[in-house]
């Protein structure tokens, strides 16, 4: 068998062959169940132990940034849906905020509450999906179904609000494209009630399970310094102890009115990433509860905007905290209806960058665990 190829794959340093063992290269992806899409990892293995990982990107590179230059700002919103489709409302929001900053558009009070509530629901939904796939990657297939079951209820809310299940295209500069229906608040309340029960059940099924704990604790350790230097963000960075959350430290919208905690991990291992995400779900529920109490029941949901939005020459930057971390939109404009250059800063791009650093020295199975807890969305990386 020709398992040990003479040629070293791209990205690996030249190795000095050891006389005792032979290392071989395993290609994971682009079609592989663990890579959450079309990420391709070339793994250097010594038996079962990972000696190095080189990710290959671009299998879903869809030239969104090039397309953005020939679409108007409002048309661009539907492309942001397709970046990180699991936090598409947040992506929409980020572009809208950048446009609002540049083109001087305000948002009414009720519109802001709608935005926050939808975004937090989206975070819950995204984390539920992560929990589901996390279970699946570790072999607990039932977790996958339970997580999706809960997620489906939030998807129902979205469908009720904007008519789509995944690519919403809901927010517009100045608010959102339609008001929430009357059933919105009762439905959110029902979901929050169900979530409380579900989170306990999840702890029973996965979180407290000894096998999960043994497989996650001490695995894929990311230090705080590495996390910062690589530009990691979101739950991945917070599990490593980086105390930064855009919602709290650079509050956008009306996030400064709410009382919520930013969960932090101690060790930066896979289990910390797990607990941080679970805790984030609870914090999102807290924000939603406050929103339900304080949201004005009357009032405009959006402000009037021009049909053609133009941003004066210059640049405009906005960032939000998506379910995966810091998502930024950088618009360079030339006073035309279409952006001159539109750059999205995707959180996954930096988060996946650390894979070699954290998976080295562990087993192949741990590589899967690490990937599952990094929770990458590949189209967001490739854009």
């Amino acid at each position: 068998m020709d398992l040990v190829s003479a040629q070293v794959p791209a990205g690996f340093p030249e190795t000095h062959p050891n006389e005792l063992t032979e290392e071989f290269y395993l290609n994971m992806g682009p079609q592989h169940p663990a890579t959450h899409g079309v990420l391709r990892l070339v793994v250097k293995l010594d038996g079962e132990t990972v000696k190095g990982v080189v990710p290959h990107l671009g299998y879903i590179h869809r030239s969104i940034e090039k397309m953005a230059e020939s679409e108007t700002y409002v048309q661009n919103i539907h492309l942001t849906d397709r970046l990180d489709y699991l936090s598409c409302h947040m992506n929409n929001l980020c572009l809208c905020m950048a446009v609002e900053k540049g083109a001087n558009i305000g948002v009414p009070e009720r519109g802001e509450y709608i935005r926050i509530m939808i975004c937090e629901l989206q975070r819950l939904q995204s984390h539920l999906l992560w929990w589901a796939t996390f279970g699946m990657d570790l072999g607990a297939l039932t977790a996958f179904l339970y997580g999706f079951d809960q997620r489906e209820q939030i998807t129902d809310i979205f469908e009720d609000v904007c008519g789509a299940r995944l690519t919403m295209n809901y927010f517009r500069p100045g608010g959102s494209y339609c008001d929430v229906p009357d059933t919105f608040i009762p439905r959110v309340k029902a979901v929050l009630e169900g979530m409380e029960k579900s989170l306990d059940e999840y702890a029973d099924l996965v979180g407290g399970n000894m096998i999960i704990q043994e497989r996650c604790q001490g695995i894929g350790v990311l230090t705080k310094e590495k996390a910062i230097s690589y530009g990691c963000s979101g739950p991945v960075a917070r599990a490593a102890g980086v105390d930064y959350d855009v919602r709290r430290d650079d509050p956008y919208g009306i996030y400064d009115r709410f009382d919520f905690d930013v969960p932090l991990g101690k060790n930066g291992d896979c289990y910390d990433r797990y607990t941080v995400r679970i805790e984030e779900m609870r914090q999102s529920m807290r924000i939603l509860e406050q929103c339900i109490k304080e949201m004005p029941s009357e009032g405009p949901y959006r402000s009037k905007i021009k049909t053609v939005i133009k941003i004066p020459e210059g640049h405009s930057y906005a960032n939000v905290e998506t379910a995966r971390g810091l998502f930024g939109t950088y618009i360079v404009s030339d006073n035309k209806p279409k952006p001159y250059r539109l750059k999205y800063r995707s959180p996954n791009f930096s988060n996946v960058n650390i894979i070699d650093e954290v998976a080295k020295g562990f087993k192949v199975a741990d590589l899967v665990t690490v990937l599952a807890t990094l929770d990458p969305v590949i189209p967001d990386i490739d854009r």
Binding site: M1, D2, P33, E48, A140, L141, T142
Partner: protein
């Protein structure tokens, strides 16, 4: 007795049993055939052997089909959904459809795979399963062969399945398959030790290696089954037996060789169509065998839970019921647990299971010499 010696003796005994009509002598069907053939005993033997082999094949394929269907249904209901619904009423023909489809599917061999090993591999686990099925005592007289060293024969042949996986993994020339084959090889060899110790415990306390004799020692109600007859220790070694067979069967939490999210499809990555279905079939037949063995060794075989319910000729019903319960246990494990990592699995075997089963074996000796039994 050397390892291979054990196998050959067992095989020899099985052939003896089949061709000498061991099965037919005590069985009603066998007797009827004998009556028809009159004095021509050779013919009767051949017919009986044919019937028994056909029965085995039927049991193997039917049980696999039913088990796959139930697995999909049980998993469905554990996961808040329904499972197969549209192929026949409640999807009962689902696995039949799968089987027919797989049979008519194109089968091909990767160019770089080794012809001989690639095509040999799927037959080995299947063969092993058939050979063990021959000695499973479904009822007092419903057993194809009843070798004196039955349990040792079972233990010896059970090891064959692992060879199939390793050979197939190696022969298909795929890195994922290779990793999976190595994993399953390590797993099978390690867990076989504990499995044998658990079996040995029963052999020790019952004093028999013949499966029928082991069952006969458990006569007389539920508290005479070895799981309860040995206070606490029986239960513990039953748990050990379930764990080790679970590992032997490559099922969650020990399904490392088929770890979908890590290794794609594992050792059968390169197999398609009928070859793949052979692996699939063997997996489920092996599950039936493991559950039957657990029933035989720990749950009183074909005996009813109460001596009053022990009607002659209905033993196979009791046997089936007990076996189904254990199979449900396997389903339940599979759809609840995540899988272990290779080093954790090894740790669990060599650091916990092996010492613990050795201690329990020692304790069993103590129990036996002190006569600490419940029941008769």
């Amino acid at each position: 007795m050397s390892f291979f010696g054990t196998i050959w003796d067992g095989v020899g005994e099985m052939f003896d049993a089949i061709f000498n009509g061991d099965w037919s002598k005590e069985n009603q069907i066998g007797a009827t055939v004998r009556g028809w053939c009159g004095e021509n005993e050779t013919l009767a033997d051949w017919i009986n052997a044919g019937i028994s082999l056909a029965t085995l094949a039927a049991i193997a394929s039917l049980s696999a089909m039913v088990l796959v269907y139930f697995e999909r249904k049980v998993s469905g209901h554990m996961q808040r959904r329904l499972g197969p619904m549209r192929t026949g009423p409640h999807g009962i023909f689902q696995t039949l459809a799968d089987g027919i489809k797989l049979f008519f599917k194109e089968g091909f061999r990767p160019k770089s795979a080794d012809f001989f090993t690639y095509y040999l591999a799927p037959f080995i686990p299947m063969m092993g399963s058939f050979m063990i099925l021959a000695v499973i005592p479904f009822d007092q007289h419903l057993q194809v062969a009843n070798p004196e060293l039955g349990i040792i024969y079972v233990a010896a042949v059970a090891g064959l399945a692992g060879f199939g996986l390793i050979i197939g993994a190696w022969g298909s020339n795929n890195k994922y398959s290779l990793l999976s084959g190595m994993r399953s090889g390590a797993q099978m060899i390690s867990y076989e030790v504990s499995l044998l110790l658990a079996i040995l415990l029963i052999v020790l306390v019952s004093g028999h290696t013949n499966l029928q004799e082991i069952i006969k020692t458990q006569e007389g109600g539920i508290f005479n089954w070895w799981i309860f007859k040995l206070p606490v220790l029986g239960l513990i070694s039953f748990v050990f037996f379930i764990i080790t067979t679970n590992a032997e069967l490559n099922r969650t939490p020990f399904d490392l060789s088929e770890a979908e999210s890590e290794l794609g499809a594992g050792f059968h990555t390169e197999y398609s169509g009928i070859c793949f279905s052979m692996f699939f079939l063997a997996e489920y037949v092996n599950m039936l065998i493991a559950a039957s063995l657990a029933t035989t060794l720990f749950l009183g075989g074909w005996h009813a839970p109460h001596p009053g319910l022990d009607y002659p000729g209905l033993g196979w019903l009791w046997f089936g019921a007990k076996t189904s319960c254990i199979i449900f246990l396997y389903f339940w494990f599979r759809w609840t647990f995540p899988r272990l990592r290779i080093d954790q699995m090894m740790d669990f075997e060599w650091r916990f299971l092996l010492p613990a089963s050795m201690v329990s074996l020692l304790l069993a000796g103590v129990f036996m010499s002190m006569g600490w039994y419940i029941g008769d």
